[in-house]
């Protein structure tokens, strides 16, 4: 009979090898293969997939979705940072209640929530009703199918993912530093700039990492809110895999995303080293 220890280790390695390592290698291999309608991807090796990434029509979508993601990430950080700061300083019970309230909408599937955004941004939706009602604008604005709508949706869906790592960072920050700074007459701005910002930088990088790249993949947000001109990279990848069936091209785009992730992870480790401690998402903890 297999010993318990061997069973547990084989399960761990087996599952990860089959479900994580092998599929990533398969995608990497596919990205260097030749497209074929019937067999999806065939030999010989080719760089066609990567060449297509740099074709103007696709590269423009890539750049545009980088831009949309960057703005959404910046806004998530702008809202999420003070939000996490306030939450982290609440009493544990109250903090947990607020955290659960933040996660609760997840049970209403994110596609349904994106649809909700579409409803409130419409010509007769909540946002326009408020704007016209308060006299800020005279005519209802065309908010839907714009860059604004996509960014609004991305921030809405991704904000909690920014808040969670930031909270972890704030909780690890020892109060002594802040008190010391206060004793030395540092004002609020100086405390933020010299204490909070550097010490929460791993959380900031982790949050941006969890928001920025996934934002580029959220095809359903672009589909519902962006119209035909505000596509995200996810729309291109989905289209290549499920409609056009050019798998090498779709894979090449995915590999591009993975490489970007690796670069951002390098920045994350650097930030962690700067703070000289292990961050909440560090795999050294595993």
């Amino acid at each position: 009979m297999l010993s318990f220890r061997r069973l547990v280790i084989s399960l761990t390695l087996g599952w990860l090898a089959v479900m994580v390592v092998a599929p990533h290698l398969l995608v990497l291999a596919t990205s260097f293969m030749t497209a074929d309608i019937q067999h999806l991807a065939v030999w010989p090796l080719s760089l066609d997939g990567y060449a297509k990434v740099f074709q103007p029509i696709y590269f423009d979508v890539f750049l545009h979705s980088l831009w949309l993601s960057a703005v959404a990430t910046a806004l998530c950080l702008l809202i999420g940072y003070p939000f996490a700061f306030i939450l982290a300083r609440q009493k544990p019970v109250w903090r947990n209640v607020l955290l659960v309230l933040m996660m609760l909408p997840f049970w209403t599937n994110s596609l349904i929530r994106t649809y909700a955004i579409k409803i409130i941004l419409g010509k007769k939706g909540l946002v326009n009703t408020l704007l016209v009602g308060t006299g800020i604008v005279d005519e209802p604005l065309s908010l839907l199918y714009t860059e604004f709508a996509v960014i609004f949706g991305l921030v809405y869906i991704l904000l909690p993912f920014m808040v969670l790592p930031l909270m972890a960072s704030f909780e690890q920050l020892s109060k002594e530093y802040v008190e010391a700074a206060r004793d030395l007459q540092a004002n609020a701005w100086q405390r933020f700039w010299h204490i909070y910002l550097p010490l929460t930088s791993p959380g900031i990088v982790a949050g941006c990492l969890i928001v920025f790249l996934p934002a580029m993949g959220m095809f359903y947000v672009a589909d519902l809110l962006g119209g035909s001109t505000n596509l995200l990279l996810g729309n291109v990848i989905k289209n290549q895999f499920l409609v056009v069936r050019d798998w090498p091209f779709g894979s090449a785009f995915s590999v591009t995303l993975i490489v970007m992730m690796a670069l951002m992870l390098a920045v994350y480790y650097q930030a962690n080293r700067l703070v000289q401690r292990k961050g909440g998402l560090d795999d050294q903890n595993l």
Partner: protein, 257 residues
């Protein structure tokens, strides 16, 4: 920052998070299809939903996948956390690296790796592929939660059990697992939440025989307004609140460890 300002800020963020859902809930009772203005209370859309078999099936399919994958991820993830905590073995670094990659990868990348794997292996897309994919993307969150609790363990408990002749299996079943209940429960809930929320991975690994909610809803709302979706949103919110209350009560009742 003054206290009023803080309260106002937190309030505004929650307004942002809940207002869109609230609009759907209100519209689910609205007689008017387009919901631009209130034209009277009605249960029409609730009846419509009950008669919409495909939507109901997609809904129960999603719940089934969420329950099963959260359970599978909790079991497998707990064992993985145990392996990483207690044992030395080859490729341990690779294993934690792989978990880290799954946690950090954008959904779209994971979705593609799963799709390519299933097609390469010739597995028919549907129930099993959804279950495998959802279980896998929940795993790192289980491992990290359970591992955090394992690290805080009193190692003497395990040593004492071993001194008394307990096997590895017995140590796990009688010492470690009972103490891990809080983190396993928390990670089950987190996995369930992530699975229910997922759109991207499901879109890639679902098949025509087993449709899940986001896929069904996507085809409904892409073209226009669909009042049944409002009802679904209201029901999902209600279910989540009830489950949360039950869960909170359960956690409170359990003796502190």
């Amino acid at each position: 920052m003054t206290k009023t300002f803080k309260t106002l800020f937190v309030g505004l963020v929650f307004l942002y998070l809940y207002a869109p859902i609230a609009v759907l809930v209100v519209n689910s009772f609205n007689k008017s299809k387009y919901g631009h203005r209130w034209s009277g209370f009605s249960w029409t859309w609730y009846e419509k939903l009950l008669n919409n078999d495909t939507l109901i099936t997609a809904f129960t399919n999603s719940l089934t996948i969420a329950v099963l994958s959260a359970t599978a991820a909790s079991v497998i993830g707990t064992l993985m956390a145990l392996a990483i905590y207690r044992y030395r073995f080859r490729f341990k670094q690779t294993a934690s690296g792989a978990l880290f990659v799954v946690m950090m990868s954008p959904d779209i990348v994971l979705a593609i790796t799963f799709l390519v794997l299933f097609i390469a292996l010739g597995i028919q897309l549907g129930f099993w592929t959804l279950l495998l994919a959802h279980t896998t993307f929940c795993l790192p969150f289980v491992v990290i939660t359970v591992y955090a609790q394992l690290k805080g363990f009193d190692a003497h408990l395990i040593e004492a059990a071993q001194d008394l002749g307990a096997s590895e299996r017995a140590v796990f079943w009688h010492i470690i697992l009972p103490l891990l209940v809080p983190s396993v429960a928390a990670s089950w809930l987190l996995s369930f939440t992530l699975s229910l929320d997922d759109v991207i991975i499901s879109s890639f690994v679902t098949g025509p025989q087993y449709e899940v909610l986001p896929i069904r809803v996507f085809s409904m709302v892409k073209v226009g307004v669909s009042p049944e979706v409002n009802v679904l949103a209201a029901l999902l919110l209600l279910i989540s609140m009830v489950c949360l209350a039950v869960f909170a009560w359960f956690m409170k009742r359990k003796p502190k460890l």
